[in-house]
Amino acid sequence: MMASSYSAKEEDGHHSGSAGLGGTAIRTRKPDNTAFKQQRLPAWQPILTAGTVLPAFFVIGLIFIPIGIGLYVTSNNIKEFEIDYTGTDMSSPCFNCSQSFSWNSTTPCKCILSFSLDQPFEEPSKECEPYRTNENKPIAPCGAIANSMFNDTLDLFYIDPNGTKTQIPLIKKGIAWWTDKHVKFRNPGSNPNLTAVFKETAKPVNWRKPVYELDTDPENNGFINEDFIVWMRTAALPTFRKLYRIIQKKNNMTPTLPRGNYSLEVIYNYPVRSFEGRKRMILSTISWMGGKNPFLGIAYITVGSICFFLGVVLLFIHHKYGNRNNNSDIPN
């Protein structure tokens, strides 16, 4: 990729040893003759020229374009379905509303159900204020983030052609990072009875249930409730999506979600209208690169093409002007 010249100055290396020996005998004010002190350390001196960068551009182009295509195809193969269930009218909130949609992917795959919020999200940086105490009891969990935890319930039903609704099993576990669930978040004390543990605390102001009633499963209750952990991993951007549930792949033969009509039932708790936010349910398949995101593929294809194009241009320039340039190069 780079033209390089290796200019080792060996004679200096030899001198350094002898100078060191001589130096011990007589301390003169004469400086040591070491390669470092004489700024003569052997050095690799790469020079970027058109000739060396040119192949690099071609190589980058040739590598990036296939990667980009692969990414783009992968992303395109991801099936994603989105329902905005915010509702339009403030006075008639969509409690327990259900929306129907059809899903026509037949590939067996792991699917995820996410919710997406569109709120001008403000990262509260103050430790716990103003949600530290309520009625003279400490709030557990304290803080604005915990206080604003998403508490809608989403349920998915498969509507058989004959009209019966079958609930799709949604898996609650595995939606949070393993380390978060098992190391970072811990329930206080060793007492398995969370009700007793949290007795002296108050629930966050906006919560409907106290922290020890988040789930019936003791492995998913209290601070180690995965919905809570997911919420506590604050999103980066104001429009964000978070993993809500996983729909487990059954086996390689049957599709995870059979083709047909589905119904989403929402227990509407979380108010977003006051700040003109939106709420969405997203049903999506997942691939090795995560969720659907055409950006990466496009970026790779673009950069690959640019590199390839530049390679061509440089080749042209190199051929036309290359000889002239070489002559006036600084000798090295």
């Binding site: 690799w44 940086s125 980066a236 993993l243 108010p271 995101n293 600084i330």
Partner: protein, 1235 residues
């Protein structure tokens, strides 16, 4: 309790932030004054320091004029100590002059009135000694902190009480880099302080012998009080400025006029008072008087004290001194008095003195032994301490080096201002948008983010202000605080390469280069004007007598032939082949050479002395080699040695009689009556001697221009050709003249000279007038030519400097012909160079030229220059100066001859302050170059023969002139490129570091949420990206040293601060912005779907920040790798090492639950990021994309060659014929320039 603590912490945070801000402000206004000013404050305001020209020392300090000689060996100062018995009269004098006293140490100041109230009229006050170092070593750190923060905005402390800023980042985050900076700087300062302390102690604690109560007492040199009698033995340096009282030499040389062969035991009571002028910096001037009173009747009171009485400003104040209180007991002085004879001077004041029984003797510069000088050739002297500490002439002469600031630093400050503006505007934009956004319905206080009670209570405007401050804190990393540390380290460490360079080692002195200041390394790469001294710099200052001309006949000595008379006659220019001058003339000439000088014979040891005694008997020939001479100027020695070759040997001066051995081996003795010292204005010196037969003769030698007008014209004609021919050959020529004085003439001259010497006022003028009066009507006997060989490789060096686009000016005190020939020899003037001479002689020349493409050389002499500088009409001054500058700037080489030292500095100053303020460099070796060395941006001293004065005052010292080439072309060039790149890179990397953080505010509702984790914010500049750039800035050789030396023209590519101009700065800034945008939005698009793992789990904001940060660290490091042209193993180690360290640190930081952290924000974030393929892919592509333009630019950039540009040399108006005239008429001088 808790809230109080929290409040305390809050205000602490605020304080830290304020300090960050203060530091910025201070750094911005960073100047040498910062620390120095404070260090100056620490020095007790020694109001005692006398008023000089109506300005007190304090004032001068304020103006930054007297910077203390910090850490300079030999110049370090002892405390101002003054001890005296003060009479009420003196008190009144002082209070009239507005002096007030300050007790040092405790900085306890009292006005004089109070002081006198508290103390008896005869109180004694003592000033504690103080040290040059800023503060006691142990207290350096806290002292430093005070020093550092003191100049912050006043009253910020009070504000902190009620402004508590919500901190987006923890105090540690902002504080740590600052702490780091402060620690490193404190360590450096402390180290330097320690060195200063050491140097101070060397000077201040230097043991000296003081005579007290008749006994010798060992004292530390700082304890010397004014008036102490100090004993100095051979090879010791004088601890302060002394008035010589007695010397062990019996022959009366050693400049002393008070030599009495008495020993200490004969001491008898003697009272004396010394009156002298205020301390002033001129080394060559001193005016004083000593009054000596009748000895008191008591037998030897064994205390020796000479009390000085300070001569105060107005002459009348002298009368207020009650002289009888000032007593001293010293016998020899009485004898001196008898010699000089009482009552020679007549003002009323002296009558008063005489009525007290006082006699008077004059003290001149020859009586003053300057501090720092070394006693040579004399076993022991006694002297009275006259000026001590800061008042010694040396200390007063010391100019602060710190005033020199490099152009790079100025650029940094300009850039810093830009970044400060960016910072403030960012904060303002964010604050404004925040409130605009919040003003919308529903956004002010959404249900999920309610305000705390405190927030609700606080005033809206105050909140805005605190928000603004919070944003400032959030974005403050854009200001590269750590750059200062890196720059300082780079300069400090980098300067070692100069000291280490073995090419600078001179085999003769076995020493390499010396770096006195590391602040100016990069300035070496920016030099535009080189001012060089001729003697000792361009030439070796190794004088050799070449030939002489006696009465119009030329004599040239050849070593191999040494016959009877030692003369070989070569053909004279006047075609008098094989002729000689008359024998009498020859001998007269040689006697003149032997007598007319101030050379001393160095005694090699006692046996030599006996040899000399034998020699007097005319039996034994002293081998000439053993005879050493000491003189103030080497050409005097050359002349004495020259005379020796022709058979006349100077044997020495004993008890005012000079002995010479003539060709017949007879000893001739001459009584030395007067020495009319050399001075640069007269440019000649004379001696008046008396032969045994009683004849009084005056011998004078000097420059032709100063001798010719004083001798008969017909004699001049015979010799002038010789002189001019010798001068064109590059020799130094001196003319010798003599005059016989009749008894009456001598009597007149003698009294005149004595009177003039005793004068207190206008002594210089009076002496000058007297000298001129005596030195007339002489007859010319001959001329000498002394060769001063060129330094090794002087010509090559000069050629290289010119090739590098520097303009070389030679500033010399020599005469024009000599200097011109040296210039030709150095190839400063080429054969084709058209010379423009502007000298008094060529004033009437009108010149015209038409060829525009020619090299011009310009010659001007001192007299003409002073005409230019001080024209009769003030209005013309600037016009003349501009014209002169224009001409000079368009000439390739300029020669200024016949320059006084001050004029040299004047020229440097003029060029320095001219348009575009070019960087100047002065190089010289002698004390006369010091002013020029100090004046120029970069001062270079040559470790030459003329002492160490120049070396000590220089910024860099090199053994030989030839080393200048490598110093500038290689070291200077590399330093400049390194530091310029360092500075640009620092700004760039901080810009693209903080830009994403700024952009992030738009996505988090302007809530001051930091994008990066605190650890990253802190470590970015300290650990992750600091080492590669430091290694780069120490090791980079974008072009190898050999090529730099071979192609001097490469130096032009970095001329005019090329890498730190606004264009490159803009380029780097744009690059930073581009990359910052790329980092942020690249990841932003990736995060449009934050499910980036194959299990569908999502990434949060810390992952976002970590990805951006990873891209950032890799990009800026790889950007540096792209710029590195010289990859040593250190570069490899540091670049790859810091990347590896980043990865390792991130794992480590995220891998453990840190007990001291409240929030484990980064727990497993990095590892999770690496487990995502998408994150990898986005990191790779973003790094590549951000480096792509850089790679393209490198490839497409025109390769830089040594022949790329040619300097344009043009005269002010080329094309048309230009007539340049300087005409002189009887009354006015006019200088006209016409097209």
């Amino acid at each position: 309790m808790c809230s109080a603590l929290a409040l305390g912490i809050g205000s602490l945070e605020a304080a830290v932030k304020w300090m960050v801000f203060c530091v910025y402000v201070v750094e911005l206004a960073r100047s040498h004054e910062r620390i120095r000013a404070l260090s100056a404050d620490r020095i007790p305001d020694s109001a005692l320091a006398p008023v000089e020209n109506g300005r007190s020392q304090r004032e001068r300090r304020k103006r930054g004029e007297t910077h203390l000689p910090l850490g300079k060996p030999g110049v370090g100062f002892t405390g101002v100590r003054m001890m005296g018995i003060i009479s009420s009269e003196l008190e009144r004098c002082w209070s009239e002059m507005g002096f007030h006293l300050l007790k040092s140490r405790r900085l306890y100041s009292v006005s004089l009135q109070e002081f006198w109230h508290r103390h008896s009229t005869h109180g004694i006050f003592v000033f504690e000694p103080f040290s040059a170092a800023k503060m006691p070593f142990l207290t350096v750190v806290c002292g430093f902190c005070v020093a550092r923060f003191q100049p912050g905005p006043a009253g910020c402390e009070r504000k902190m009480r009620w402004v508590i800023v919500d901190t987006p980042t923890s105090p540690v985050t902002s504080g740590l880099p600052l702490f780091f900076v402060i620690t490193v700087t404190a360590i450096k300062q402390g180290y330097e302080d320690w060195l200063r302390h050491k140097a101070d102690n060397e000077v201040n604690k230097y043991p000296v012998t003081v005579l007290e109560d008749g006994r010798s007492v060992k004292k530390e040199s700082e304890k010397i009080k004014v008036g102490d009698v100090v004993e100095v033995v051979e090879d010791e340096t004088f601890p302060c400025d002394l008035i010589l009282l007695q010397s062990s030499r019996e022959d009366g040389t050693c400049f002393t006029h008070y030599t009495v062969p008495d020993t200490e035991k004969d001491l008898q009571a003697l009272t004396a008072a010394i009156e002298c002028e205020q301390p002033q910096p001129d080394l060559y001037k001193f005016v004083g008087r000593m009054h000596i009173y009748k000895p008191e009747q008591e037998p030897a009171v064994s205390s020796i004290k000479v009390k000085p009485a300070w001569q105060l400003l107005k002459p009348c104040t002298l009368f207020h001194l009650s002289l009888d209180r000032l007593k001293c007991f010293y016998e020899p002085l009485r004898r001196v008095l008898h010699e000089s004879g009482p009552g020679q001077i007549r003002p009323t004041y002296f009558q008063q003195c005489c009525s007290l029984g006082a006699t008077l003797t004059s003290l001149g510069p020859e009586n003053l032994l300057l501090k720092g000088a070394t006693l040579k050739n004399t076993k022991k002297i006694y002297g009275v301490a006259l000026y001590t500490g800061m008042e010694t002439k040396m200390a007063l002469n010391y100019q602060g080096k710190s005033q020199k600031r490099s152009a790079v630093e100025k650029s940094i400050n300009a850039f810093l201002l830009v970044y400060l503006c960016i910072l403030i505007s960012k904060a303002i934009v964010c604050t404004t948008l925040k409130y605009v956004w919040q003003s919308k319905e529903g956004q002010d206080e959404p249900w999920y983010n309610q305000k705390t009670q405190k927030e609700k209570d606080t005033n809206m405007y105050l909140k805005m202000f605190t928000d603004f401050l919070s944003f400032m804190v959030l974005f403050n990393f854009i200001i590269p605080v750590s750059m200062y540390v890196t720059v300082e380290m780079q300069k400090f460490l980098g300067s070692f390469f100069i000291t280490w360079d073995k090419d600078f080692v001179d085999p003769e002195i076995q020493e390499g280069a010396l770096v006195n200041t590391s602040d100016l390394n990069e300035e070496l790469g920016q030099v535009e004007y080189v001012f060089t001294d001729k003697t000792g710099t361009l030439t070796q200052n190794n004088m050799e007598f070449i030939e002489c001309c006696i009465d119009g006949f030329q004599y040239k000595h050849r070593d191999n032939r040494s016959e009877l008379d030692g003369f070989t006659v070569t053909d004279g220019p006047v075609n008098k082949l094989q002729q000689k001058a008359g024998r009498e003339k020859e001998e007269l000439f040689l006697r003149a050479l032997c007598l007319c000088h101030t050379v001393q014979v160095k005694e090699a040891g006692s046996e030599v002395v006996t040899d000399q005694v034998d020699g007097i008997d005319g039996m034994i020939h002293q081998p000439e080699e053993e005879r050493g001479f000491i003189a103030s100027s080497p050409d005097e020695i050359a002349l004495v040695k020259g005379a020796m070759k022709y058979g006349f040997t100077f044997l020495g001066l004993e008890s005012k009689s000079m002995k010479i051995r003539n060709r017949q081996n007879d000893i001739e003795e001459y009584k030395l009556l007067h020495v009319l010292n050399f001075d640069p204005v007269r440019r000649r010196m004379s001696v008046i001697v008396q032969t045994k037969s009683g004849e009084t003769l005056l011998f004078c030698k000097g420059a032709d221009s100063s001798i010719f007008p004083r001798v008969k014209p017909e004699e001049v004609d015979r010799i002038r050709m010789h002189v001019e021919r010798n001068a064109t050959e590059g020799y130094r020529t001196l003319c010798v003249a003599y005059k016989q004085l009749s008894a009456e003439e001598y009597a007149v001259a003698d009294t005149g000279l004595r009177e003039a010497r005793l004068a207190l006022q206008d002594r210089e003028e009076k002496l000058m007038a007297m000298y001129n009066q005596v030195e007339t009507g002489m007859s010319l006997i001959g001329a000498t030519a002394v060769e001063d060989r060129l330094q090794e490789e002087a010509a090559e060096t000069m050629e290289a400097l010119q090739g590098a686009g520097m303009k070389v000016w030679v500033l010399t005190g020599d005469k024009m012909e000599t200097a011109k020939s040296t210039c030709y020899a150095c190839r400063l003037f080429q054969r084709g160079t058209e010379l423009l001479e502007l000298t008094v002689r060529t004033l009437e020349d009108g010149r015209s030229w038409s060829t525009a493409n020619q090299d011009y050389g310009f010659i001007i002499d001192g007299a003409t220059l002073s005409l230019l500088m001080n024209p009769p009409r003030d209005a013309d001054a600037s016009l003349y100066r501009n014209l002169f500058l224009q001409i000079c700037q368009n000439c390739t080489a300029v020669l200024c001859c016949r320059m006084a030292p001050l004029q040299k500095a004047q020229i440097v100053k003029m060029v320095k302050n001219s348009k575009g303020s070019p960087i100047t460099l002065s190089i010289g070796d002698g004390a006369n170059d010091v002013s020029m060395i100090l004046e120029a941006h970069v001062g270079i001293g040559i470790k030459g023969k003329e002492g160490r004065q120049a070396v000590r005052n220089s910024d860099y010292a090199i053994p030989k002139l030839k080393h200048l080439k490598k110093l500038l072309l290689a070291h200077g060039h590399l330093y400049y490129v390194r530091i310029a790149h360092l500075v640009q890179y620092f700004f760039y990397k901080n810009l693209c570091f903080i830009l994403p953080q700024f952009l992030y505010q738009f996505f988090c509702g302007y809530s001051q949420q930091p994008l990066y984790d605190a650890a990253y914010l802190t470590m970015y500049n300290i650990c992750f990206t600091s080492m590669p750039i430091l290694a780069y800035s120490l090791l980079e050789q974008h072009i190898s040293i050999e090529i730099l030396l071979d192609h001097a023209a490469l130096y032009r590519e970095i001329a005019n601060n090329a890498m730190l101009r606004w264009r490159p700065f803009l380029y780097w800034t744009v690059l930073g912005i581009f990359q910052g945008l790329l980092f942020f939005f690249g990841v932003r698009f990736l995060f449009s779907n934050p499910a980036l793992q194959d299990n569908g789990q999502v990434f949060g904001n810390w992952s976002y920040g970590t990805i951006v940060f990873t891209v950032l660290v890799f990009t800026v490091t790889l950007k540096l790798a792209l710029d590195t042209r010289h990859w040593t193993w250190i570069n490899h180690f540091v670049i790859w090492g810091s990347l590896a360290f980043y990865v390792f640190f991130s794992f480590f930081w995220g891998g453990i639950i840190w007990p001291f952290l409240k929030q484990q924000r980064l727990y497993f974030v990095f590892a999770n990021m690496l487990s995502s393929v998408s994150a990898w892919l986005v990191i790779i592509i973003l790094i590549l994309l951000s480096l792509l333009p850089e790679i393209l630019l490198v490839v497409l950039r025109k390769p830089r060659g040594p022949h790329s540009r040619q300097m344009k040399r043009r005269l002010p108006s080329s094309g048309t014929s230009t007539i340049f005239m300087l005409s002189q008429t009887a009354s006015t001088h006019s200088f006209s320039w016409s097209d």
